[in-house]
């Protein structure tokens, strides 16, 4: 763990446009903060990819690039944990019946791997319907102390 890992808690919250530029800037911000928080180098790319996938889902599938809808993006670097939340203003979807992208019949599908990758890359993954109608994803990376 980097020496600066004994960081002070840091929290950032952004209301972002439903654009691919927001996806890029959210990823960049998350990786920078994860590095400051002490996430190990090999894990930084995984955090970045999980954030990218969650932001793409919010912008593309949730808000459908609607200029009137925002993505609520927040990061909390806490002692021992690095937490990212991404919430959209979309119509929601049934996340309990998502097809398994590893099933033989789905292997050659061109989409449907985003949530699987988020789960694979992070230590904890939660998804819930928001009362306002959107969907919120929570991604957690545990900080390893040495």
């Amino acid at each position: 763990m980097p020496e600066n890992a004994s960081h002070t808690p840091e929290t950032v919250e952004r209301l972002m446009d439903s654009t691919l530029e927001s996806v890029d800037s959210a990823e960049e911000l998350a990786v920078k903060m994860a590095e400051r928080a002490g996430v190990e180098e090999d894990e930084l790319i995984k955090v970045g990819m999980a954030v990218r996938e969650s932001m793409v889902n919010a912008v593309v599938h949730g808000n459908r690039y609607n200029a009137n809808k925002k993505v609520r993006f927040s990061i909390a670097a806490e002692p021992g944990r690095f937490i990212i939340q991404v919430g959209d203003e979309g119509e929601g979807f049934d996340f309990n019946s998502l097809p398994d992208p590893l099933a033989p019949e789905n292997l050659m599908k061109t989409s449907g791997r985003g949530i699987f990758l988020m789960r694979s890359f992070m230590d904890d993954f939660q998804i819930r319907h928001l009362g306002s109608g959107g969907t919120e994803v929570t991604l957690v990376k545990n900080l390893v102390s040495k």
Partner: protein, 114 residues
């Protein structure tokens, strides 16, 4: 840098050298267009060199799968060359590594089309 695609011909094999990021948007669109163009020109032997790819997301993976299907359905072969660790890991966890014919050496990859 988003993505840069360079095509070259080695014998009857079309090689596409890909550099940069294959992500939703410009990166995956460019790859899709390049492969469609190859298929449109009736190229049957296509080698995708991913040696300089720094990043690929689920959209990029989808584009690889789509390209593989398009080329195969047209009676051709799409093979992959020079996967770095990140791309290789990604194809392994998505169980796609064994779907593609993956090579580490260009000369060997070219010969494998014969």
């Amino acid at each position: 840098m988003s993505v840069k695609l360079t095509t070259r011909q080695v014998g009857d094999v079309s090689v596409i050298d890909v550099a940069g990021r294959i992500t939703l948007g410009e990166g995956s669109s460019a790859l899709r267009e390049a492969l469609r163009e190859m298929v449109g020109k009736n190229q049957k032997k296509i080698l995708l060199n991913l040696g300089e790819v720094t990043y690929i997301d689920s959209s990029g993976i989808g584009e690889l799968v789509s390209g593989f299907t398009t080329v195969t359905n047209s009676g051709g072969n799409l093979k992959l060359l020079n996967l770095n660790k990140r791309v290789k890991d990604l194809l392994q966890i998505t169980k796609l590594y064994t779907v593609f014919d993956v090579h580490e050496d260009e000369a060997g990859a070219i010969r494998s089309f014969a």
